[in-house]
Symmetry: none
Amino acid sequence: METELIDKLVTKNDKKIIFLIMDGLGGLPQSTGGQTELEEAHTPNLDRLAALGTCGLLDPVGYGITPGSGPAHFALFGYDPIEYNVGRGLLSAAGLDFPMAEGDLYMRANFATVDAKGVITDRRAGRLATEKNEAICRKLQEKINLSSGTQAFFIPEKEHRALVVLRGGEFCAEIAETDPQKTGLPPLEPVELTPQAKKTAAIMRELTGKMKDVLQDEETANAILLRGYARYRRFPSMAERFGLKPLAIASYPMYKGIARLLGMTLACATNTPEEEIQALQNNYPAHDFFFLHIKYTDSRGEDGQFAEKVKVIEKIDALLPDVCALNPDVLVVTGDHSTPAVLSGHSWHPVPVLLAAATCRPDLATVFGERACITGGLGRLPMKCLLGLALAHAGKLQKFGA
Amino acid sequence: METELIDKLVTKNDKKIIFLIMDGLGGLPQSTGGQTELEEAHTPNLDRLAALGTCGLLDPVGYGITPGSGPAHFALFGYDPIEYNVGRGLLSAAGLDFPMAEGDLYMRANFATVDAKGVITDRRAGRLATEKNEAICRKLQEKINLSSGTQAFFIPEKEHRALVVLRGGEFCAEIAETDPQKTGLPPLEPVELTPQAKKTAAIMRELTGKMKDVLQDEETANAILLRGYARYRRFPSMAERFGLKPLAIASYPMYKGIARLLGMTLACATNTPEEEIQALQNNYPAHDFFFLHIKYTDSRGEDGQFAEKVKVIEKIDALLPDVCALNPDVLVVTGDHSTPAVLSGHSWHPVPVLLAAATCRPDLATVFGERACITGGLGRLPMKCLLGLALAHAGKLQKFGA
């Protein structure tokens, strides 16, 4: 495997690498003959970097495959996104900094509303207030005791979201999700999907039955839907694999979770891009790899707001000189996947990337945009290969063979 | 494997995909500084589609590998051309709609002429008349009885070609071909190539001996040469893998055979591109994937007729508006491989491709040609990845991971 060869060639030095990740960066034109969000944006600083550096287009998982943020970020950090595909529950647990242990089963939960017949009328319980969520989780934690030594944990997240954990046995994740992913249906039964999962399914039935009892008096959050089951899994860290001392600067739990799973140090809480860059400056001496995550490009894409996504890109461009002022040895600017505003969601289109370093070979791209990146020297390549290229440009890889 | 991941992400909808395949489309200039057949052709309709859509270059099997039509078509339909490489005998059997059964051994046969010493003087028996071929096959069928319960079938194809089938046992395909592929040599012995093939080789020797006896009085077709041995093999259908209801519109047996092996429905017999497009229009409501095969680009290339190949491309371009008028959600125009007229045969050069869909990302290609496709947004990619891209652009693939 390509990544394994890279691992064997790693050599340490004090060169610094910054990955500036604009989530969902890639886009599409609003109409025939138009420009993408990135092409439309006025980005003199990114364009200058693109002209100096090497550009290309990244496929997060494979041709035609639309990735979730999990697989896409694993690929960005040099981890094969198929091999390291993990359930959402594990990412939630890591994002919440839940003290994970071998054997645990993690589940993503949504509080939901069901009618008198038990049919789901709102999968998000009216986007429940976070305080209410916290109160209900406390109630579940107090009242629910499972038989046969199994412990359940109920950890609130924002709004209607929560993490449910089972501990005290060797659980199996091959259980049907109880979230039917749409309204008009009752929650599904957590039946076993393989014979090995029979024991876990029995515990899950006990759990869902007792949760139902506790929730029945709630007004809106009178049901809970489970999905994204995942067992605990230990990942080889970026320190182990690449000899890096990585710092993650991200404000959303899921991205923090991925960073934790890969052994990154997390910067103190940040909310705005300005705060994120401040955190980068403050922590610059102590690390040699920096993952700086900008969520808003994706959010505006998801919301279908073309002009707003353009503005976010322009804002980041305006902040770029502060990043460049640190003189990183390698500066990579890219996204984890495309989120074209016209599709209001993730897509399979490749993601523009620029890599700026003193060791870059110049190419034909003179601005940063999807079309310009076609003429980039990196060509079109799997996203999981990007980290190896960054290490190479930072002099962190030895020669292969004599 | 990438293709297996695609399979898992398939979701059905009523979007329609057309694959317009100009066999052997890719070409080469006739002389230094010249244009390829596709570049030379006046193709305003293809150029318009290329400008609107996304272009690229496909490698049918791998860098430098010249594919036969079998592997190239498997790749077009998303089947790994190395994993699914099958003997020509099986393709012939499928093309003739021979009722195949488990255990059968299929062989491609050529009637040939040998001299008094048994040396081949013509590998095609003077391109035997098809009626004569039919008469000889009837004679072989009547006169040849094999021992130990093995049945042999002799099925005429066009001119000097036939299909020979062994049934009634578990045969082994690892037997030497008896066709030496050139004149001046006698037919070869069907010796076993592995110890496991010993029993089959004995039956093959009985078969070739008895065929020789029957044919010895023939004037021109006094020998038969066997090659392309293949055992029966069941393929996962395009319906099973991709949830498609595919229709094949092709006039040559081999392409029909591949379509049958992959579970496509075959349109009624068609002979001209006009009839093929008529068949497309007639069957449009009942299917969601259409394989429209144009043979003549390849034939003119094989014959070394540059100007004639250009004319075929121009003719298809003129018919293109009738295809576009159906408003397919995804329209792909490409070839299965390159057949440059200057080489009078298949070649390893990548094949230009255009993919037009509302969900396309525009690129730098504004005309359809080999050079323009270098600036296409698809880049250069394995042909087997094309179908996944078509599915993605038609909204037929779910997101991978959370």
